[in-house]
């Protein structure tokens, strides 16, 4: 289920300032010998996955469904620019009727067969005030499907970032606390300890959010009402132009030195973690067989000996 490789025309509708920043970032990728990048976008329904894909491409490449349920199939959009290929895969929401939608995960897994995922964008809303067990279950399901390594190549995306924080909190404090709440749940769901996966960034400052978390965070505002700066770039309430920042984070994860995730047949058909105890099986069988034999011998002996209790 590939898609036609098209020229990235949406690139030219970005404001000039954004375009030049993006050109710089793609040049950096080229330096490292990377001329193709596949981004996988996953998350609950209604958080803004499709809108984010459209914003990053600068065109309406995928359908956004505000009120009805989303499409059931993953979609890959491919764009080519100056020899660099960008693939973005939009997926159906992972929650249905209050439960994790394992069927959707299966569909996504099969869709990704023989593709290499450079970066995973896990999308949630900045303006949600709670994280609950369902979020943890989604993360567990993703971890079970793709393996823990996927979190080495992932980025947390928080949408609806143009908000007025409640309870008199400042924007930066609100973002930091919200990110930390989501990241904590992600760590619990994937069973990663905070110090396990250290990602080294090229610059020290990624965003003004959390510097010591293993998974970087990107803020996004997809609506047409997003405020703009003097260069006509879409900006967040903290003044940051979010499209270049987001692409910078993505490039950072792509070049962080960890291996990209190849979705091969083994991964699609089952996990390999069951191999660990396999050598013990014949041993245990052997011991059991000996035990049964011994019990049988003892019973025979007893029959020969006794007879007084009948």
């Amino acid at each position: 289920m590939g898609s036609i490789l098209r020229d990235w025309q949406g690139f030219h509708q970005f404001p000039a300032a954004t375009q030049s920043k993006l050109v710089e970032l793609f040049a950096k990728l080229k330096e490292e010998g990377v001329n193709k990048m596949t981004i996988l976008v996953m998350g609950k329904g209604g958080v803004g996955k499709s809108s984010t894909v459209n914003s990053l491409l600068g065109e309406r490449a995928v359908n956004v469904s505000s009120f009805q349920s989303e499409g059931f199939r993953p979609v890959m959009v491919s764009r080519d620019r100056a020899g660099f290929t960008l693939n973005i895969i939009d997926t159906p929401g992972l929650v249905e009727g209050g439960y994790v939608n394992y069927q959707a995960l299966e569909l996504i897994k099969r869709f990704l067969l023989n593709k290499t995922i450079t970066v995973l964008l896990y999308v949630d809303r900045l303006d949600a005030y709670r994280v609950d067990d369902l979020d943890k279950q989604i993360i567990s399901a993703i971890t079970d499907t793709f393996g823990k390594e996927i979190w080495n190549k992932s980025l947390l995306v928080l949408t609806h970032a143009q908000l007025c924080p409640p309870d008199d909190l400042s924007y930066d404090v609100f973002c930091a606390r919200r990110s930390e709440a989501v990241l904590k749940t992600m760590r619990m769901g994937a069973q990663i300890r905070k110090r396990d996966f250290e990602v080294v960034h090229n610059d020290v400052k990624c965003t003004s959010i959390s510097m010591d978390s293993a998974i970087p965070v990107g803020l996004v505002e997809n609506s047409g009402r997003c405020n703009k700066n003097e260069n006509d770039e879409k900006i967040l309430p903290n003044g940051d132009a979010w499209i270049p920042s987001m692409v910078k984070e993505i490039v950072g994860v792509a070049t962080n030195g960890k291996k990209s995730l190849l979705v091969d047949e083994k991964l699609v058909n089952g996990s390999e973690s069951n191999d660990r105890g396999k050598i013990f099986i014949p041993l245990i069988l052997g011991v059991q067989w000996l035990l049964v034999k011994w019990i049988q011998r003892e019973i025979k002996k007893d029959i020969v000996k006794g007879g007084k209790y009948f």
């Binding site: 929401g93 209050g98 303006d127 369902l134 409640p166 047409g224």
Partner: protein, 386 residues
Amino acid sequence: MRSQQLDDPTNGESKEHDETHEKLKMIRVKFLRLVHRLGLAPNETVVAQVLYRLGIVEQLRGRNRGRIGTLSFDPASAMAGQLEADGQEPLDFSCTIMVLGKTGVGKSATINSIFDEAKLPTNAFQSGTKMVQDVVGTVQGIKLRVIDTPGLLPSGSDQRQNEKILHSVKNFIKKTPPDILLYFDRLDMQSKDFGDLPLLRTITKIFGPSIWQNAIVVLSHAASAPPDSPQGTVSSYDMFVTQRSHVVQQTIRQAAGDMWLVNPVSLVENHPACRRNRAGYRVLPNGQVWKPQLLLLSFASKILAEANTVLKVQDSPAKKQFATRSRAPPLPYLLSSLLRSRPQVKLPEEQFGDEDGLDDDLDESSDSEDESEYDDLPPFKSLSKA
């Protein structure tokens, strides 16, 4: 509606009717005083609907068919105006409201807004309300008691937890049951695919399906801008509200197992930066001042219940007692049942999902009640034919 003189009422009955008529008039006066205090006009839609219903219920339930030929309420209106102007007579009205909903949707924040002070703690990152508690206060001289409940969890696997919370709520309200339930959700969060159905089913399981007949849907964050339409333009605010309300109402219908249920919807915005009008009330993007509207809907239900009690007292020797239901049919149910001209059609099993016994019980009880109470319903033309 044309009225006819039936049998000549005996003297005793006519005295009873006069008393009832008088009591109902006082209820109307009380209602109009409430409307006045909330700063609303008597010709507002909801007010007019309630007054109309009071008139209809009186005509149908009471035996006053021959005696009240008019639905004009000028004497009540004049009296209400005078009492308010005098400022002497205290308003004998109090209301108990209970709030339910997911965690983090704005229940405690709305209660704070209603009383205009921070009586309850709120938290943007974890549950603020940990136990059931009630808050008592007055709004424009009207006694109000609001029961705040801990937020419920939307995830399908957390319903055990929800049951525990709801049982504690049920214990709390045993002594003084609430007059109206406010079910909260956010306007700006689409729960697609009926994601909240497990939660609503749990509420139905603990409190019984009849709770939804006395419920108002409240959508918070109502000053949110609608999402961009697929064409990239901004879609209309009213469409946004309608579509979102529809999803919530439909989910409640599924959970309650009652396809005729139409719960009224009220909008709320608690953010301090929300636009205010000159009187200091928070205003929504459609120009509506939300607080009086919400309070009016809540009070209307209690007023109708009071009216029904008055009429029931008069009717009880003649008609059978409805032990299954302790509350009179409130606003949404009266509307839907008045417009119904056929007995309730049994819908196919699939539409109710896997809720077997619960739905069957509901259907049976409501059917029997309907037939006896609304036997004497004049035949209305169903709206589609008209």
